[in-house]
Symmetry: C2
Subunit: 463 residues, 2 copies
């Protein structure tokens, strides 16, 4: 079985933890792992191959996170523009044998009851082998109005239902044969493509045209922008599942959550003795003190938090932003993000800690005239050959060893050594060693924006 992980989401529903460039599936939340990492690990037990559908920006993030959990031999399908789930799955299936059984899973869901999950997957695999398109239904624990429902009779699907109002949701719960539509599927690649051919031949045709021109780069397949952009947008539900006659459902109570809000996150984390949920996400153990404070969720990375006489709050602290919301109101984070997009879009898009194909950097201080960064380059990686018009750079290596191209010289910079890149000079930074290269960069210049960069050569196709 092949695990197809749909990883293209770019939500900010967990702002300030999630950002446009670090969406929910990549945020470290449970057991010091991301939901993407947990998804991959969970499916390793049942799938022999991993195919990640992602976009170019998130490709390196996914790669790094797989290295962290020591996963290798994965494949990537890189979409240059998102067209919803039907094209993503179709393009993936076009690269497989028709008899390959595919387990399609989102990257950003939590499943706590793995035993129930594996039982459901086994049942779905059996049905998929018989030529059915299988969808997974979650036995609902309360009348949620934010999900679609599947009305079922055993494994037979009677109907797909849109997000209900609360009265309808209540009636679904009482009826007992309605399940949350989880967005997980299992089928043979060939069966899916046949059904797509029947119900959305135009979409399949556009996918075939695009896939025919795919670019292979190692274990990644990239679809060119123009062809990807020509594919109609549609979800697998609308395009196939709600129309096909070959649908089955497998219902399970697998401790599932889409962690779609901080309230949902709070439900999944344990309470301490004071009835508070404390999530410390950083390297350092910062104090979180609660005095007569109950039923709060407090999330922090590197700041101390003290809460006095407050109840039912959600407090989420990151390096640059703090969210404080009443429990039950965390859906309104989207209003915050909408406002921020207008007045300070950076806070929606990136963390001060940003991931790059070669590693990461964290902005320690940013002023008009200078900017300080900690740069971490992973073993074997190099930044682009580049120059800047408006800034000089001072580099101090604090750990690992750097190979630095500085004009026409190439030099080795060891821990506790430094080098200087004059304004306009062509330069490159590389880590040829076996451990992370950690470097402090002091930029000095009239303008230190990230866009003052001329790339002359790049290993990651960013020219």
């Amino acid at each position: 079985m092949i695990n197809l992980v749909l990883c293209g989401g770019s939500g900010t529903r967990l702002w300030p933890l999630s950002r446009k460039l670090l969406p929910k599936q990549f945020v470290t939340l449970f057991d010091n792992k991301s939901l993407f990492q947990k998804t991959v690990e969970r499916n390793q037990a049942v799938a022999s191959r991993l195919l990640v559908v992602s976009n170019t920006e998130q490709y390196f993030l996914a790669k790094d996170q797989l290295i962290e959990i020591k996963h290798n031999d994965e494949y990537y399908l890189l979409e240059s523009v998102a067209k919803n789930t039907a094209p993503a799955i179709a393009l993936a299936c076009l690269g497989l044998d028709e008899d390959d059984v595919v387990l399609v899973t989102p990257a950003d869901h939590l499943i706590k009851n793995e035993k129930a999950y594996y039982q459901a997957v086994a049942q779905a695999k059996g049905l998929a082998g018989q030529g059915f398109l299988v969808t997974f239904g979650i036995i609902p624990s309360y009348p949620e109005t934010g999900f679609g429902y599947i009305q079922a009779n055993g494994n037979d699907v009677l109907a797909f239902k849109e997000k209900p109002d609360s009265q309808t949701a209540q009636s679904y719960i009482e009826a007992g044969n309605y399940y949350w539509n989880s967005g997980m599927f299992c089928f043979k690649a060939g069966v899916f493509l046949e059904e797509l051919a029947q119900y959305r031949p135009d979409l399949l045709q556009a996918c075939k045209v695009a896939y025919a021109k795919h670019i292979s780069e190692g274990n990644a397949v990239r679809i060119p922008f123009e062809l990807m952009n020509a594919i109609p947008e549609d979800s697998i539900d609308y395009a196939v599942m709600e129309k096909s006659q070959k649908i089955k459902v497998v219902a399970a109570d697998m401790g599932w959550s889409d962690v779609g809000s901080f309230d949902a996150l709070s439900d999944e984390l344990p309470l301490n003795e004071q009835g508070n949920t404390i999530l410390k996400r950083g390297e350092a153990d910062v104090p979180v003190l609660t005095i007569n404070a109950h039923n709060n969720m407090i999330v922090t990375r590197n700041h101390a938090i003290a809460a006095i006489d407050v109840d039912d709050l959600i407090v989420v602290d990151t390096t640059d932003s703090v969210l404080i919301t009443k429990k039950g109101s965390s859906q309104k984070v989207k209003e915050v993000v909408a406002q921020l997009k207008r007045i300070k879009p950076d806070l929606c898009d990136v963390h001060r800690l940003a991931y790059r194909p070669w590693g990461s950097y964290e902005v320690l201080l940013d002023t008009d005239k200078y900017k300080i960064k900690r740069i971490i380059v992973k073993p074997g990686k190099k930044l682009s050959l580049q120059k800047h018009f408006h800034r000089s750079e001072h580099w101090v290596v604090v750990s690992g060893t750097a190979e630095v191209t500085n004009g026409d010289k190439v030099l080795t910079v060891r821990p506790n050594e430094s080098t200087y890149i004059p304004m306009g000079e062509v330069h490159r930074l590389e880590n040829k060693g076996k451990i992370d290269l950690v470097m402090i960069e002091v930029q000095v210049g009239e303008y230190t924006g990230e866009d003052d960069i001329v790339r002359l050569e790049d290993s990651y196709g960013r020219i």
Copy 2:
């Protein structure tokens, strides 16, 4: 008239804004000024001389803050150990002429109605000229139980009252002739010393012995530790005011607050259209968003804050810590500080931004193996001649010009230039220029604690 500003407090009642090394009077709160600065500016209109009583640690902080408001020609009395207000005032008066009229004011109170204040001061000055010890009474606006009261009949004091219970406080308000004891006084230096001689001759004698051995350093008078330590501890109220027969009171409604808690601070700041109080304390304009949030006070320096569906909260965000408390509960900050003192005392004592005699530094990143600081050296200042056993230092000048002693060499380091101080090398940093020297320091070593410093020569008596 001489304004004697008592500036020795070291409270953390406004933690995380105030710390042991940056007490309330020095925190920038109103109009981008500290209460100390506002006190000095207010009294400049009525006093011809400024005498600041402080301790060695806060001396440079006070000096810097006076430079910021362009005040000069002040004098300092530096206590090497705090002995409460009676010795502080006695030592100050011993350095004055007996007919000098002294206006004693705490450094950490807010006075909003300056007209009423100046009227009260004028009246007090008249009474002081007639040989009275004058105390200032604040016409109470509510039955506060945290202050002492003065029972009066016109300018005559009938009795000093300890902090009352709430019923007693209520009866004081109803009686109408009880005033809050403000801790402000006005008298001739000679009269105060005569009265002290009568009621605490031992204390006066110890002060005389100590003052006789004072050390003059420019405009500062320093009392040696052993002699200061031998002075009995007492307040001016207990030692003199509650016993003397020469007491008068001047009562006024001067818009006074001791800003003794975040609730008190909140009362003094304006509400915005949503009924929230927003105080932005940093250089950058960070977003503070409120969505259906009312009657909250939100204080921040360099982090964005978003508040959703929350009311009546106090949120105080600093570079390293966040306080969230229900309004009305901010006195419990002391419980937070008590807990922090045990588990993470640094967070009670210092900000990541620390003031030094020569300027300031801010820790940007602190790890086991390296530490990054931004160092600002004021014009004409120099750090001590020093060395470190466990760390090397890389210095990058980003603004201003540094004169660097590095072993037996002295070199000039200009903006966008750097230098390197090897482990164990004797070095010194000096700003001989006219503008601030701003420098990024990258420390690399197995141990980067502040106590790995051997001072060989110091302009500030720190050897």
